[in-house]
């Protein structure tokens, strides 16, 4: 018997409640005291198309989705056809016999089939066919020998949050119970996986986007203007939902251009402000991105990458926009790019992003992707770290009486004192034209050079304070992996397995892409035996940037650009195959 370690997956047509069933299962497992990581795939459609949701469950810390699947819930035929190859030999497939037919005599796998009339049972429970997903959850709990009340509680919570009436909640619980009883009565074979409840330490489950919002609020961010775009939209949703509780202004504006310009306007008044979008939306924002740098207004933008170019695959992920954000907008200005790799980093680093934006009066790019934005991971409260707020050089209004205020004063650090609208004596022009120290438009050669140099000194100052990346894993590794962003999870998971197999691997996650930690990376190159860069793109963008910054190239590039994240098993095979 394998206890508290298994992988579960549900699939069906869009509109079948795949995401909500997955989320309920995930949360119930979390409450059973287990570590949970979930991952979903869906097309850019509201009805039709194939949706899946997989949950990896463990009594050990789990950092990414894992395969093979031990329990597959197939709400339609397509799920069986598409995912049979992902099953373990000892897997069970619960399929909806109202819609799917499987000839058990020709079923090629050793996985056990369990057909259940999920829709009939949903109707029998007094619900509608759509409750087939909840019947399947009940069946899953019975197979796993998991206590039903945990499922009951999350079903109740789920429908309450959706403001459903009492009778709907009741019929869904009944539906789950019917599924539970059906399996208890009819499934006589052994299922090798079970659940033993652990003490629930109050762990949370959270998506990257949610962690970004919570971190931003904690950092004192008060203003978000955004335009919906997958996979960034939930930042807008979550923050809007919390706007009254935390006194925030969250505005869904007419387009991304308005979003960034409004955020810049808000920040100009002294409020911490943010915008969030995906690659296409950021493409529209780029002109104003340069303006924020020129007028030296703090700004944080989240770019949650999807698959491009153009509309690409809107609901799929990748890491294709690194070079884009590093050079977005015309002209030259200091670049601040932060790439969190997991939920905890999303929470903590967005607070640093606001501090950097304020201290260096600059736009700061916070780059994530679909995988990090929308997968849910277990989180411990103590790992969500608070960062003290640093608002940078905002002048005191009283001091303005006695000084000749120069908004763009040429200082050794490049950072100039900042007045806020409403402060007497601090009036100035925030000027997108090249300007002199007072802010007046200025095109003289000497002044232009001086102001460019002033702005670029900020990058050098910041480079000194930005923490170096840390090598994780075996000190004397044969292979050093270098990566950025959401590949962190699959890499950590692969390293666990490789260690068991005696393979020495370590990992350098580059968090601050710019200013780039040149010295630290050079050191790592010096010590490492072999270096492989791992990226979800075609061209190895980090490898290219790293070479530009250090002159050094990795020995290998492990690249994947099919819209899917790295799976642990494929990473392991690739790393083992490196010669």
């Amino acid at each position: 018997m394998v206890t508290n370690n298994f992988n579960w997956k549900i699939g069906g047509e869009a509109g079948y409640g795949i995401l909500s069933a997955g989320a309920m299962f995930s949360r119930a497992m979390l409450r059973l005291g287990l570590y949970v990581f979930d991952y979903s795939e869906y097309p850019s459609l509201i009805r039709g198309g194939h949706n899946t949701y997989e949950v990896s469950i463990s009594d050990q810390k789990v950092y990414s989705q894992r395969r093979p699947i031990n329990l597959l819930i197939a709400l339609n035929q397509e799920t069986i056809d598409l995912h049979r190859g992902e099953l373990s030999n000892d897997a069970v497939v619960i399929y909806n016999s109202n819609l799917a037919k499987v000839d058990e005599s020709t079923w090629p796998s050793s996985a056990v089939l369990l057909g259940m009339p999920l829709e009939d049972m949903a109707v029998q429970a007094g619900s509608e066919k759509v409750a087939r997903n909840v019947v399947a959850l009940g069946a899953s709990f019975a197979l796993l020998n998991a206590p039903f009340e945990y499922l009951r509680d999350v079903i109740e919570l789920n429908f309450k949050l959706k403001n459903k009436e009492e009778n709907i909640i009741k019929s869904n619980i009944t539906a789950a119970h019917l599924g539970y009883d059906y399996v208890t009565k009819n499934f006589k074979k052994d299922f090798l996986y079970d659940i033993k409840p652990q003490k629930n330490p109050g762990r949370m489950i959270m998506a990257g986007n949610t962690a970004i919002v919570l971190g931003a609020i904690q950092a004192g961010c008060k203003f978000l203007s955004a335009y919906p775009m997958t996979p960034a939209s939930s930042i807008l949703h979550v923050m809007a939902a919390k706007s009254k509780e935390y006194n925030l202004v969250v505005k869904h504006v007419e387009d991304e251009i308005s979003a960034i310009n409004a955020a810049i306007g808000a920040s100009y008044t002294g409020v911490r402000a943010m915008t969030a979008t995906s690659g296409g939306g950021f493409a529209l924002m780029t002109e104003a991105w340069g303006m924020a740098a020129m007028v030296e207004v703090p700004l944080v933008a989240v770019e949650a990458m999807r698959t491009g170019p153009s509309s690409g695959m809107p609901t799929w992920g990748g890491q294709e926009d690194l070079k884009f954000v590093l050079s977005a907008s015309h002209g030259e200005f200091p670049r601040f790019v932060i790439a969190p790799g997991d939920v905890e980093q999303c929470y903590e680093l967005i607070q640093h992003a606001f501090n950097l934006a304020d201290k260096y009066q600059t736009p700061v790019m916070f780059i994530t992707n679909k995988y990090l934005a929308s997968t849910h991971k277990w989180v411990e409260e103590q790992d969500l770290k608070k960062v003290p707020v640093d608002r940078g050089q905002i002048v005191n209004e009283q001091d303005l009486v006695s000084i000749k205020f120069k908004r763009y004063e040429d200082t050794p650090s490049g950072v100039s004192p900042r007045s806020l609208p409403g402060m007497k004596g601090g009036e100035h022009i925030a000027n997108s034209d090249e300007h002199n120290e007072l802010g007046f438009s200025e095109e003289g050669a000497e002044e232009r050079t001086r102001m460019m140099d002033k702005r670029f000194r900020k990058e050098e100052a910041a480079r000194k304070e930005i923490p170096d990346p840390v090598v994780e894993g075996d000190k004397n590794a044969d292979i050093t992996l270098i990566s950025w962003g959401s590949t962190r999870g699959p890499i950590l998971e692969a390293m666990k397995e490789l260690k068991k197999q005696g393979k020495k691997v370590n990992f350098l996650q580059i968090i601050y892409i710019s200013p780039f930690p040149v010295q630290k990376v050079k050191e790592v190159f010096k010590k490492a035996k072999k270096i492989a860069v791992v990226e979800n793109n075609k061209t190895g963008q980090l490898a290219g940037w790293m070479r530009e910054q250090t002159g050094l190239s990795p020995d290998y590039k492990i690249l994947k650009y099919d819209g899917r994240p790295f799976f642990v098993s494929e990473l392991i095979e690739t790393i083992k195959g490196l010669k």
């Binding site: 949370m204 935390y246 202004v249 310009n261 810049i264 609208p421 409403g422």
Partner: protein, 285 residues
């Protein structure tokens, strides 16, 4: 007592002699002074164009943004600090070309901003191309055989999209224009003033004389600005006889007045220090 000089920077204007901006700027400063609004309580955003180069000539919190975007920057400012008087300044290309979506949507939201659009019916800083308000048939650098477009009607667009104050002024009548700007600033909600402006260098059609022959004052004609239908009718008849004055004014809560979050004080004055987001953690357990 504040005077125009209190809003004037040390930077010397760079406009052509006879430019309509030499009328619009004094009218704006006169309005600010008469309303006794201290310069540090005024935030003024600008786009890009001859008019927006005027950012340099004001002494207040001026934000010289990019083409078409003076309005969204102003929106961010107003919603973050609604104690400020917020004026967005733009040209006709800025406001009705590059930034037309912001114009329409800011009107819908009735955000409490005064929008001063310098309408010289031409792109002048780029040396005289057709603008959204150029008349059909107008020959310009970009339309050497005459513009094929109907001109954009900002007044009607503002009225039908929810602006609560819609007026038209003329750069050649500073006192009248200044009165309109005062009313617009005092108005609680989105206020458009389309300011007819001569461009002595590039626009040889819509000259001072041309306007003088066509302009009439709505207040002299007994116009009822509270009447939506009449306002729209006046906005549509904007060709042979051109109205100046207030076309339309109505009262509707402005955007920030509808946000509970801003009822007590402006966003920028709310403490960022007592925030503890941990109280939200339970909903993820």
């Amino acid at each position: 007592m504040l005077t125009q000089q209190d809003y004037t920077s040390t930077y010397k204007p760079t406009w052509c002699p006879g430019c309509g901006n030499f009328g619009i700027h004094p009218a704006t400063k006169k309005a600010l002074a008469e309303l006794n609004l201290p310069p540090h309580r005024v935030a003024m955003t600008f786009g890009i164009g001859c008019s927006s180069n005027g950012a340099n000539f004001f002494k207040l919190y001026a934000f010289h943004s990019i083409h078409g975007r003076s309005l969204p920057v102003a929106v961010g400012i107003k919603l973050s600090n609604h104690d400020l008087t917020v004026i967005a300044d733009a040209g006709d290309g800025d406001a009705y070309g590059e930034g037309v979506s912001h114009f329409v949507h800011t009107a819908r939201g009735n955000i409490d901003i005064t929008y001063l659009v310098h309408d010289n019916r031409l792109y002048s800083l780029t040396k005289g191309q057709m603008s959204p308000t150029s008349m059909k048939g107008m020959k310009t650098m970009s339309t050497p055989f005459g513009s094929l477009n109907e001109p954009f009607n900002p007044l009607a667009a503002a009225i039908i999209n929810g602006a609560t104050f819609v007026a038209q002024g003329f750069s050649g009548d500073i006192n009248h224009l200044s009165g309109l700007i005062k009313q617009a600033i005092m108005h609680k909600g989105f206020a458009l003033i389309n300011i007819l402006q001569v461009c002595t260098t590039f626009n040889k059609v819509n000259t001072f004389q041309w306007y003088k022959e066509r302009i009439y004052k709505l207040e002299d004609a007994g116009h009822d600005a509270a009447n939506y239908g009449k306002a729209l009718a006046a906005a549509i008849k904007n060709h042979d006889k051109i109205p100046i004055g207030v076309l339309y004014q109505t009262s509707r809560p402005s955007y920030h007045q509808q946000l509970d979050q801003l009822r007590e004080k402006p966003l920028v004055k709310q403490s960022a220090e007592e925030i503890d987001v941990n109280k939200s953690f339970d909903s993820y357990r």
